[in-house]
Amino acid sequence: MIRELHQKLINREITATELAEQYFAVIEKKDGDLNAYLTLTKELALEQAKKVDEKIARGEAIELLEGIPGGIKDLILLEGVRSTGGSKILDNYIAPYDATVVEKLREVGAVFLGKTNCDEFAMGSSGENSAYGQTKNPHDLTRVPGGTSSGSAAAMGAGMAAWTLGTDTGGSSRQPAAFCGVVGLKPTYGRISRYGVMAAASSLEQIGIITGSVEDAAIVLSAVSGRDRFDATTGDSFDKKFEDYLTGDVSGMKIGIIKEHLSGLREDVKKVMETVLEKYKKLGAEIVEIELPHNKYALPAYYIINFSEISSNLARYDGVKYGMRSDDKKETDLTDADFVEEKNLLETYLDTRQYNLGAEVKRRIMLGTYALSAGYYDAYYLRAQKVRTLIKQEFEKVLQEVDMVLTPTTPTPAFKIGENTNDPLQMYLEDIFTVTANILGVPAISVPAGTVPVDGKDLPIGFQLMGKWFDEENLLRAADAYERMLIDKK
């Protein structure tokens, strides 16, 4: 889609300004129902678009992403614009600087439509934990869009952006992409700088890219990846254009599958997955059964690491430096100052966090604090990090036999709003197929696999490919080859 829009811009069939206006018109029409955007940045978008139009008018060459409008998850800072991260505690937070990804997108002339809704501080699988209302699934308004990059995926699914950025700590870009019928990419840990992104679980998370096609994901990845002095985990940058590797050729490629993953699936989802495997075989890839016996521990290990790192990272939201502060004077109805005792520092901390953080965030802070507290560190966090080593060793061995591993992205299509809210554990189990890539730090992508009929609606599901560290080229090539096959058939 990005390439087509780019062609239209350089052929002067449409101006960048008109293109941005078109997207805002769709947003205006649809977002009242969907609630995918928290903030629209129309003034900024039109200003950015105008610059691109002037450049085209002068006959200058433009980059692929130049003038192409997209949305940015509210967890990622865009200077001068409100950034809440889906939390009440940052209700009044105006980003004082750009995240590195935003800066890079500015440099290539991309246009910013607005900030997208998300689960509070990237915790959840359904969009139900946003403090700013539920984002709905564009395929069925009674269902969740997935999470935590709920707004980014819903916006893509509804044609309210040409690309979006999310984040992915345990599947937060891939799972909503699968539920909304679009592509979700989590690159290798360290591929993209996280500077200017609100931290949740630092050893797991990456920026995610949600787009309408694999090629679009490659184009955005080329623009935002690279080493950054502000994020010490970033790998070396190079001038590769990932979109140049999409040859459509996967002949001889070995794709691993885990038997138990497929056999345990419900029938309709299993059938779709089998069709995907058939298509890969037709393309000349070889399907190889592999075993990852320790992978069943990935989910509990993931959650221990997630809770622990969250409890540490979220200590910063204390009402001292920025964000909301629960102060007695503002809260109380008492007007006579004599009756109002000034809260001390500790009481201010407690109240600020009690009244401005949501239930799931508090739950994870509590769990992480418990797991890291004296006497429990070895049994929980350290043990989880050791299990992580075992899973990594196993995966390294598997990668000697296969080029990548294919799984479903989720065990089911989008579930109903409210279906899992009373049972946090049930919600965690949603991430069963996606967390492994975060535990491992490998790149993974969710690609639309087809739909299954549920209650008279066709709900999208996705398949996932997990590749080798810093080998997005081959991962994207395999994912793109599948998409091309579908397009060629049409």
Binding site: Y93, G190, P300, Q354, Y380
Partner: protein
Amino acid sequence: MISRDEVKHIAALARVGLDEKEIEKFSKDLSSILDWISELETVDVTGVEPTAHITGIVNRMREDKAHEFENKAGIVKLFPEEKNGYDKVKSVM
């Protein structure tokens, strides 16, 4: 089982205020989640090194030099309570 007292203790450590209903709910939630996580106890991790950084990048060095931040006013504006350009905080003692 995580008791109500333990919940209160953890909440105090985490600096999170909780009301009675939350204490009750978290006592239940934390217990079931920790139960589930205890599955990890069955894994033999003898002699296994923990993984702290998954891609193995070590010691990214850069010059120890301060950079000027352009938008100081933007930071000051975010202070919950500002006085003379400083962030006013509660007394610690």
